[in-house]
Amino acid sequence: MLKREPTWEQKIAEYVMENKENFYRLAYSYVQNQEDALDIVQDSIQKAMLSKTLKDDKAIKSWFYKIIVNTSLDFLRKRKKLTVVDDTTLQLHSQGVSDYYEDIDLHRAINELSPDYRSVIVLRYFEDLKIEEVAEILELNISTIKTRIYKGLKLLRIQMEDLNFEEAKQNG
């Protein structure tokens, strides 16, 4: 009797509140600094609220991830014109002392990959999305995603010899 159909905005708000930390990490994985990552999260939410492109509520997850990814990529494109991010800058952003080298691993790993490969690796492995979801977010077909995962892992393996990419073949 009191259960009402929530408005479209409420559904978005609900979803954003539950997943804001994931969005932030995803944005951070692209831009690698706090300020820009926060900007991207903010821009993405506003885009989402204004956009009317979500047709099916169930698709909200890939729809929102898509907005974050695209906003991040746009941002990188714009920034590329301004500066080139070098290793020194990246090191400045690594957190803490004890995990200094580990962080370098993450930054290196991500930065060795071009945005194309970066997106599939981050979404598939770090955000733990299904291959189908990654395909939907990046608007590519599943076999392209599989190829990119395979190549992406291979690229990573070049720097880190014990990285396993068998899993990609199995899952893919």
């Binding site: 009797m1 009191l2 259960k3 009402r4 929530p6 408005t7 905005e9 409420q10 559904k11 978005i12 708000a13 609900e14 954003v16 509140m17 539950e18 804001k20 930390e21 932030y24 990490r25 951070y28 994985s29 706090q34 926060l38 999260v41 903010q42 939410i45 506003q46 609220m49 204004l50 509520d57 169930k58 957190q95 995990d99 580990e102 962080d103 691993d105 993450l106 790993a109 981050v122 492995y125 770090f126 990573l156 880190m160 014990d162 990285l163 396993n164 068998e166 899993e167």
Partner: protein, 293 residues
């Protein structure tokens, strides 16, 4: 096969620190686009809005008439009426609080106790609303506040009367709470949840039945969601247990219904949720089959 490197990367990814500003930024981004949800009362330009308190004397309000719709009142004298109504209508600030009162109970202590409680809660809600509104207006904030409170007769049979009082508060986002009182009209007493059972084992029994029902519903309908742990979606502060005096009522079919407020066990879009507990599940621990069959 060595997955260590990837595991380590994933771990580092999960360890990316979340800045404190995130909450604020997210909330702001969401609020910018938030429109006031309730637009039922229109602002009339040029007329200074007045704060009016209606004290309705004992009569049937349209709201009550509506709430009684479809509920057969079979020769029972015990009745629920709207005794007082608070209304505020100042543009973005809307309050509509209806205070119920139980009547014609022989047990005057019970009647007075319930009515005093209802009145006090209504007053508190009104006072709180007014002070929040004045505060926002004093700081010239363009706020949106609304509170709607009323009651519904959930069950009214010869034997039982269940009154549910709901509060819907909107301040940016909205929140609904509901509280039930169930009276045995014949014996003139308030039924509490523990009084229905032989001992406290009902808590555990009901918990496991609820979790079963939540899982079942989520499996059957992907749009449903409850805050419970599942292997593919662990929830840190999910549903653990009902309270000793969990909100409940007994429906016209003599089944126990357990009720939760909005956000208690499910995301807001699910609203307030209720579960009918199958009598077989609790049969063995019921004191009697007087109320629940």
């Amino acid at each position: 096969m060595d997955n260590n490197k990837m595991d380590k990367l994933v771990e580092q990814y999960k360890d990316i620190p979340i800045p404190q500003e995130l909450d604020e930024i997210v909330e702001k981004a969401l609020i910018v686009n938030k429109k006031p949800r309730r637009t039922t009362t229109k602002w009339i330009a040029g007329v200074a809005a007045a704060t009016v308190i209606f004290t309705t004397s004992v009569n049937l309000s349209p709201a009550l008439a509506k709430s009684l719709e479809g509920v057969p009142v079979i020769g029972s004298v015990v009745d629920v009426i709207t005794i007082k109504e608070y209304k505020v209508d100042e543009g973005n600030y809307q309050a509509d609080i209806a205070v119920p009162a139980v009547q014609e109970l022989e047990n005057k202590t019970l009647e007075q106790m319930m009515n005093a409680k209802y009145l006090e809660e209504g007053q508190q809600l009104y006072t709180k609303f007014m002070s929040e509104m004045e505060q926002q207006q004093a700081f010239n904030e363009d706020g949106h506040l609304s509170v709607t409170s009323g009651y519904e007769i959930k069950v009214d049979t010869d034997q039982l009367l269940s009154v549910g009082r709901f509060i819907e508060e909107t301040a940016g986002s909205s929140m609904t709470t509901i509280h039930y009182d169930t009276i045995d009209k014949q014996n003139e007493m308030l039924i509490t949840l523990p009084s229905l059972f032989k001992d406290n084992s009902y808590i555990e029994v009901i918990n496991s039945n609820l979790i079963e029902q939540m899982e079942q519903q989520m499996n059957d309908d992907p749009s449903k969601m409850y805050f419970i742990d599942s292997p593919d979606a662990p929830v840190s502060d999910g549903f653990k247990t009902i309270a000793e005096h969990q909100n409940f009522y007994i429906n016209a079919d003599h089944k126990l219904v357990i009720a939760f407020n909005e956000f208690d066990v499910a995301p807001g879009y699910m609203g307030t949720v209720e579960f009918i507990i199958p009598t077989e599940a609790i049969q063995s621990i019921l004191v009697s089959d007087e109320y629940i069959k």
